[in-house]
């Protein structure tokens, strides 16, 4: 078996998609490429070819959205292709416009990269559905047509739990994610595969075939290796507008829902070489109720560009319920930031792009600010904020260690050795959830939501630190001196024996003292 093969509809060849040129244009070791006559309408022929090639996954280059892509995918399963292993790439409209062949090559290369990066087909993320509608009695005696759909699945080992995080639970538009256990769990029956949970998960714990961050990262890296402009659209919206009118150098990639796109995705694309980025959402038709999410992502990205001195107009957005949706491409593309700030893309080449939030936004903002020499006083506020900054009153913080236990991204960390304890904060990982300020027993922490450029540029900091007190019996560490001082204050003068037991002896030696008055 081979991992990925490319099947090209023969009708695309006279329109400019030459297989040999395509083979030369694909990076690295090119996958097998086969031309199938009338592939769009001859799924049986495609199946035979996939079987001959022994492909687990197939990029199917088809003419238009009128091809029965669902039937094609179903038939390819018969040829040994994984149930969700077919990625159709609609190329007819692209080939009809400027630099058609070049853009088609990049789109196929990106699809190959995505399929190569996709995790192995797994029944946990694949749901079988039978044809909908009432079947007559005769039909019930034969196997109905089968369709496979992607569903999200949570990696229990990576999920930090709904108590600490739970962002996926609140975002899911169909309430498919439950909090019934300490880890998030997805209802396979309810999940629609929109992918919103994938991009909001700060630990990358959610898998969804066709929407994983690894797949999109690989696709972005491939598409942007030669610059260009990137338009991201909802898969359900894609057939609704005229692709012929998308001019070069724009290339269009589909995601399950445009609400997946985050500020970090847009900024990372610009850092990696895109001159402009655009998001095309469903607007009022959005089945995921993600319109506000798209607006937020693009608005914050524009604010960041303004703040670092780059043209905010390079982030564009539109919806397919607008008559002039395609008008978003009418303005000429911008000069790539990489040209304004030589050296920027060096930090965002293949293998260095990250689409996982909050690191995606933090790294891109920091990279752009450094490259463009932005002032470090810039502050960008937005609701909901993509990032946040935690500060501590070091006179009040006792280094009790409560805040790191509730921080979902490990932005707060308590580092202790034998002699010192330190509370460290990484601004690149804070998602402004506020759990730390809620749990702090001393009200020592404050959270400032938003993007604070100075702190991002400064990197990780120590919020509070103190010496460790040691046991007067055996010399073992007891705890931070500030915390013990707080215990002394709480116990007061009347509990001198207990106070001595707690503040002067370790757990092992404490029993030697016993309860107050008994030593």
């Amino acid at each position: 078996m081979i991992d990925v093969a490319v099947l090209v509809c023969g009708d695309l060849v006279p329109r400019g998609l030459d297989p040999e040129t395509l083979r030369a244009a694909l990076p690295g070791e090119p996958p097998p490429i086969a031309v199938v006559n009338h592939l769009c309408h001859a799924p049986a022929a495609a199946t035979r070819r996939a079987t001959e090639l022994g492909a687990r996954r197939v990029v199917a280059a088809v003419c238009d959205h009128e091809a029965s892509l669902e039937t094609l995918a179903a038939r390819l399963v018969r040829g040994g292709v994984e149930p969700l292993g077919t990625e159709p790439v609609v190329l007819g409209p692209t080939l009809a416009s400027g630099d058609g062949a070049g853009r088609a090559h990049r789109l196929i290369a990106a699809a190959v990269a995505r399929l190569t990066a996709a995790p192995r087909g797994d029944a946990a993320t694949t749901r079988l559905r039978l044809a909908e509608g009432t079947l007559d009695r005769r039909a019930l005696l034969t196997l109905p047509p089968i369709r496979y759909a992607a569903v999200a699945a949570v990696d229990e080992n990576a999920c930090v739990g709904t108590d600490r995080c739970g962002r996926c639970v609140g975002l899911c538009p169909v309430d498919a994610i439950s909090t019934s256990s300490s880890r998030a769990t997805v209802s396979r029956d309810a999940c629609t595969g929109c992918g919103l949970c994938v991009s909001v998960c700060p630990t990358g714990a959610i898998a969804l075939p066709g929407a994983s961050l690894d797949e999109h990262t690989a696709g972005f890296e491939t598409l942007l290796s030669d610059g260009g402009a990137l338009a991201i659209t909802c898969r359900h919206s894609a057939p609704r507008f005229d692709h012929d009118e998308i001019p070069a150098p724009w290339v269009l990639v589909e995601v399950p829902c445009a609400g997946m796109v985050t500020t970090g995705w847009l900024l990372q694309a610009l850092c990696a070489g895109a001159s402009d980025v655009a998001v095309i959402g469903c607007g009022s038709d959005c089945r995921c109720d993600a319109v506000q999410r798209v607006d937020n992502a693009t608005a914050v990205a524009r604010q960041v560009l303004d703040a670092v001195g780059a043209d905010a107009g390079r982030v564009r957005s539109t919806t397919t319920d607008r008559r002039d949706a395609i008008g978003v491409f009418a303005d000429p593309v911008s000069q790539p930031i990489a040209e304004l700030a030589p050296g920027l893309t060096a930090g965002f080449t293949a293998g260095r792009i990250t689409l996982r939030e909050p690191e995606a936004t933090a790294a891109a903002v920091t990279g752009m600010a450094r490259a463009l020499g932005a002032t470090s006083a810039t502050s960008i506020g937005h609701d909901p904020p993509p990032l946040g900054i935690v500060a501590a009153d070091d006179q009040a913080c006792t280094l009790c260690g409560a805040c790191p236990t509730v921080c979902p991204t490990d932005a707060l960390r308590l580092d202790e050795d034998r002699d010192r304890s330190a509370l460290r904060f990484d601004p690149h990982r804070c998602i402004a959830c506020g759990h730390c300020t809620d749990i702090c027993p001393e009200d020592a922490l404050t959270l400032t939501p938003g993007i604070q450029l100075a702190q991002l540029l400064a990197g990780p900091t120590v919020l509070a630190e103190d010496e460790i007190a040691h046991c007067q019996e055996c010399g073992a560490p007891i705890g931070p001196a500030a915390m013990l001082a707080r215990v002394v204050a709480l116990l007061g003068d009347e509990n001198s024996v207990l106070r001595a037991a707690v503040t002067e002896r370790c757990n092992d030696c404490r029993g030697l003292v016993g309860p107050a008055g008994s030593s």
């Binding site: 892509l69 995918a73 399963v77 149930p83 029944a123 079947l135 019930l140 047509p145 496979y148």
Partner: protein
């Protein structure tokens, strides 16, 4: 991957559900044999079944579980497929050095729940008119539950042939229950551990195939049972 759009009927004649059930019965029977151990009577039975199984899975290539079985058959058809099976089986499942690999469900629940699990497993066999056949495969052993599935699939196949949709629906529901309640809650943990301890072993492949096909088949049984209910023929 692909967006939602109306399904078109494929031009080939679809297989009968009776045939699909018969292939599933054969598959579960072979999988049960594989987990019973590498003794000659089991490996011989598996080897003899491979040819027929290989032909049979070709009838419903649309079903993902059948694709998983195709992969496993290819693995089992390698001439030395069973060459290390005795050593691997003994090390993983017999010596007791790896308690997490135990193939009995009761080993994977708290001691207080042992009796409850055994009772539930025994009841599921009794309802089907079966009993565990040896001490090496108690009622809650994965192999016993796979045999139960094979038995139920046989009966489902008979029901389809009689066009007794209600009986077929009953069997499908029982199969789904066994998959969801008796196997999938704990066997994936065993498969994961075996994959870590002995990734190249026959049993890593076998358990991986069992888990993947059980998940796909749980979807299939649920979806088909729901379709029957929607049609009004299930009762």
């Amino acid at each position: 991957m692909t967006g939602a759009e109306p399904l078109q009927l494929l031009e080939d004649d679809p297989p009968s559900l009776a045939d699909v059930s018969a292939v599933r019965a054969l598959a579960y029977s072979v999988l049960a044999r594989l987990l019973l151990g590498p003794e000659p009577q089991h490996t011989l039975a598996v080897s003899e079944a491979l040819g027929g199984w290989s032909d049979a899975v070709a009838i419903a290539p649309d079903l993902a579980a059948f694709g998983v079985w195709r992969e496993l058959i290819t693995r089992l058809e390698v001439p030395d497929a069973f060459s290390h099976a005795v050593d691997d089986y003994t090390e993983l499942f017999i010596t007791g050095r790896h308690p997490g690999c135990d193939l009995a469900e009761s080993s994977h629940v708290p001691p207080a729940a042992n009796a409850e699990v055994l009772h539930a497993a025994t009841q599921s066999l009794r309802r089907a008119g079966l009993a565990a056949h040896s001490a090496s495969a108690p009622p809650d052993h994965a192999a016993t539950q796979l045999e139960l599935l094979a038995h139920s699939c046989h009966q489902e196949s008979d029901a389809w042939q009689r066009e007794d949709v209600a009986a077929a629906h009953t069997r499908l529901s029982q199969e789904h229950k066994v998959l969801r309640e008796r196997l999938l809650p704990w066997l994936p943990g065993v498969a994961g551990l075996v994959a870590r301890l002995a990734p190249e072993s026959l049993y890593a492949s076998v358990l991986d195939a069992i888990i993947r096909s059980c998940r796909y088949d749980a979807d299939y049984t649920a979806a088909l049972a729901a379709a029957l209910e929607a049609s009004g023929d299930a009762t």
